[in-house]
């Protein structure tokens, strides 16, 4: 159905794609894998006409094609759904789906009736129920994704590309998305699927193509791979173990964080959390269960309405991130672009931001010291940047995340709260981040880890608290951790009394 042959594409200084071949046929779900920077996005953009390759051919349905503009690729039935959805929040579902090609009445006006009817048809093809008149801004991200897919269907899509669609949804929504994608596949649509989550690949894909450093590494049916061979192909070396070993547990270490009866309506309704020195405590639950808000309430970036937080016995006042940092709490936020990186500032300034007083003498910043710290961390954490004074915006997710981790390690925290620390981070960098977190705990730092990726929670945590609708549903020790035990608690009806910490 689609075949790309010997595609080359360079950017100043980098050969992003080097003689890359890719083919996928109608009625299959084809996973495109690779670390960040392997060339997946570039390949997709070549496919969709956003980039013109220097050499190579694109064949669609047996006909060689050259895209002069993305519009041509779209007319040929290629539709890409990017992570950042491009919808108009103030328009209705139907208006979004038919934007630019709305059905017209005799008088040239938009035929609302026909539009709503056609929307219902498109959604029912997907097997998704949604009010065509609903305002898109009011929908959940998962529903918005369905609107994007329905939009693609309205264009008579032949090839649908999804770039990390599950990065923003969770649990049941993922299951529903997969079910809908399989339905599309069975109708003969070719689906190219990009994800960092290997479980999803095995659950969904029929065939796999792996890129590394802009070159083909391996391709084949999903049956030819197992987890280990997939990771090895992506990273280029066997990943002995993604998760570092757990140390012998000291359940007697002193309690660092004691949070009592935390309330932050409407999302957090009376939660107790204790974390001991050197312990990695996981916070699991569905998206929207109040995990992130609990983290904000502990850190003070959202003011809790009730409850007490102490750090090594010392009171942490509500609603003041600056004081929390001074007390020794670090908080790696969920959305690193909106809430983490200081995008306009260089690497060193990003690292020293919470800690400026330590780098000030007589009212002036000691830039050489700042740069030296950054240089040390770049080496220590193997951050791939040109230098301590270069910018951070264009770096890959993994490197940006390492810079933010380095920021919080530099304050010498007693408690580190990590919210989705490996979101959008490739496998190789993930393993390094896990190692960093474990090493930090080994130094006696208490770690509170929020993650939607269950394997990560199971592989890394010493103890897991499960939340649902703002309450703690129960606690699981390392031995009792499994996807089933966590999901059971996360979807249970009432808190399992007595088990809660």
């Amino acid at each position: 159905m689609i075949e790309l042959k010997a595609i080359c594409k360079s950017f100043p200084g980098v050969k992003s794609l080097d003689q890359v071949n890719f083919s996928a046929s109608a009625g299959e779900i084809h996973a495109l894998l690779g670390e960040n920077g392997a060339g997946k996005s570039t390949l997709i953009k070549v496919l969709a006409g956003a980039y013109t390759p220097e050499s190579g051919t694109i064949t669609l349905g047996g006909v060689p094609r050259i895209w002069a503009a993305p519009k041509q690729a779209q007319q040929a039935g290629i539709h890409v759904i990017y992570q950042e959805l491009v919808l108009f929040p103030d328009l209705s579902v139907a208006e979004n789906i038919f934007i630019g090609h709305a059905p017209r009445t005799r008088w040239g006006l938009i035929d609302r009736k026909a539009m709503i009817q056609k929307t219902e048809v498109a959604l029912s093809q997907l097997g998704h129920r949604l009010d065509p008149r609903a305002r898109v801004g009011d929908l959940s991200v998962a529903d918005q994704q369905m609107v994007e897919i329905a939009k693609a269907l309205s264009h008579d899509v032949k090839l649908l590309v999804l770039d990390e669609p599950t990065a923003v949804i969770s649990g049941k929504e993922v299951v529903a998305l997969f079910e809908r994608l399989r339905r599309l596949r069975d109708r003969g649509v070719c689906i190219i699927y990009i994800s960092h989550r290997l479980e999803e690949i095995f659950a969904l894909a029929d065939r796999i193509t792996i890129l590394k450093d802009g070159k083909n590494v391996r391709a084949g049916t999903v049956a030819e791979f197992d987890r280990a061979s997939l990771v090895t192909a992506m990273v280029g070396r066997p990943l002995a173990d993604l998760y570092p070993p757990r140390p012998a547990q000291t359940k007697t270490a002193p309690i660092v964080l004691a949070a009592c009866n935390i309330h932050l309506p409407p999302r957090v309704r009376g939660v107790d959390v204790n974390v001991r020195a050197g312990e990695i405590v996981g916070l699991a639950g569905m998206v929207g269960s109040g995990r992130t808000e609990l983290a904000h309430a502990i850190f003070g970036s959202m003011a809790r309405t009730k409850g007490r937080v102490t750090l090594e016995g010392e009171e942490v006042p509500p609603g003041n991130p600056r004081l929390s940092i001074q007390r020794g709490i670090g908080f790696l936020t969920e959305d690193r672009k909106a809430e983490g990186l200081l995008a306009q500032l260089p690497v060193y300034a990003n690292i020293t931001a919470p800690n400026l007083t330590a780098y000030t003498r007589l009212g002036f910043l000691r830039r050489p010291q700042e740069v030296a710290l950054a240089a040390r961390d770049i080496e220590r954490f193997r951050i791939a940047v040109p230098g301590p004074t270069s910018g951070v915006w264009h770096l890959s997710g993994g490197n940006q995340q390492k810079i933010l981790l380095s920021r919080w390690m530099a304050i010498k925290p007693k408690l580190l709260v990590l919210d989705e620390p490996t979101r959008g981070v490739d496998v190789g960098a993930k393993a390094e981040i896990y190692r960093l977190i474990r090493a930090l705990a080994a130094e006696g730092v208490a770690v509170l880890l929020i993650s939607s990726e269950l394997p990560e929670v199971i592989g890394l945590c010493d103890r897991v608290l499960v939340m649902k609708e703002g309450r703690l549903m129960g606690e699981l020790q390392a031995e009792a951790l499994s996807e089933e035990s966590i999901m059971t608690l996360a979807t249970a009806d009432a808190p399992a009394q007595g088990e809660a910490a």
Binding site: P321, R322, E339, G340, L342, Q344, L345, A349, P354, G363
Partner: protein
């Protein structure tokens, strides 16, 4: 913040050079010392307000009350002392502090009401213009003779106002690049939420940028008084928009968080030079406006 030479950074110096060359060709008096002094004197007011505007815009805001603050400062400075020279210095200090206070008020309103600074500062400008015209429907007041030296005296051939402007530019550049406050301005302007979550104090930083802008606006007002010897209620009218041009031409991102003072300085030079040049070319004021638009 990072010193890198980009093609855009070369545009302004190039334009400066062109303006100088054209000036030299058009009129033989253009490159004389006399005109240089004249030029530096014209430069000062624009320079002061651009500094203030640069702070505010780097911090992610915009200040449209600069002209109104300058006008009010001018009439108050010329009028308050009522001819009693002993009261002049206190009223000068009062006016400068008042400018900073009005600026801080701008900042406080944007931060606490979460209203866009365009609206806050425009509203403030309107209120201040009203007060100015109530107090002085036409130019009034006077200044002690010695104060006119601020505009007309010079030290070793360089006008005092030029020296002051140069010094302020250097100090400001130092503050922006070498102090925690400067770092906070860039961080807050770039991403206020990320800055807050990094434990940086966002609201005080924003308020301070507006206070500085108010202070510089009042200073520009005082400078006008020293040049004309009288408090003109329309002295600062053109300054608000004029303060934006060098900042933007100088490469400071209008959304905040990026850009340096070097560009602003060149921007101030270029705009003033353009004004001066157009004067020499004997073009009417309206044609001058048209040219600047380009």
């Amino acid at each position: 913040m990072i010193g890198r030479i980009s093609p855009q950074a070369l545009v302004v110096p190039l334009l400066l050079l062109i303006a100088l060359t054209v000036g030299a060709v058009v009129n033989e008096r253009f490159l004389t010392l006399g005109n240089l002094r004249n030029f530096t004197e014209q430069l000062a007011a624009l320079g002061f307000v651009s500094l203030g505007q640069a702070f505010v815009i780097l911090g992610g805001g915009i200040d449209l009350s600069i002209g109104a603050i300058a006008s009010l400062a001018a009439v108050l400075l010329a009028g308050l002392h009522g001819g009693n020279e002993a009261l002049f210095i206190p009223s000068l200090l009062l006016v400068l502090a008042g400018g900073a206070a009005v600026g801080a008020m701008n900042g406080w309103l944007t931060v606490w009401l979460r209203v866009h600074p365009l609206i806050v500062t425009l509203g403030m400008a309107s209120v201040l213009s009203g007060i100015t015209l109530l107090y002085a429907p036409q130019p009034r007041g006077s200044v002690p003779f010695w104060f006119e030296g601020f505009a007309f005296d010079s030290l070793a051939g360089v006008p005092l106002s030029g020296l002051l402007l140069g010094a302020l530019f250097l100090i400001t550049a130092l503050v922006l690049t070498r102090t925690p406050f400067g770092r906070r301005v860039y961080a807050v302007g770039g991403n206020a939420e990320a800055a807050r979550l990094s434990g940086l104090s966002v609201k005080p930083t924003i308020i301070t940028t507006y206070a500085l802008s108010g202070f510089f606006a009042a200073l520009a007002g005082a400078y006008y008084v020293s040049r004309t010897g009288v408090g003109d209620p329309h002295a600062g009218d053109a300054l608000t928009l004029a303060s934006l041009t060098p900042v933007i031409v100088g490469g400071i991102l209008l959304g905040g968080g990026r850009g340096g003072l070097g560009g602003v300085f060149l921007g101030v030079l270029l705009i003033s030079l353009l004004n001066n040049l157009l004067n020499y070319m004997n073009l009417s004021t309206f044609v001058q406006w048209w040219c600047k638009g380009w």
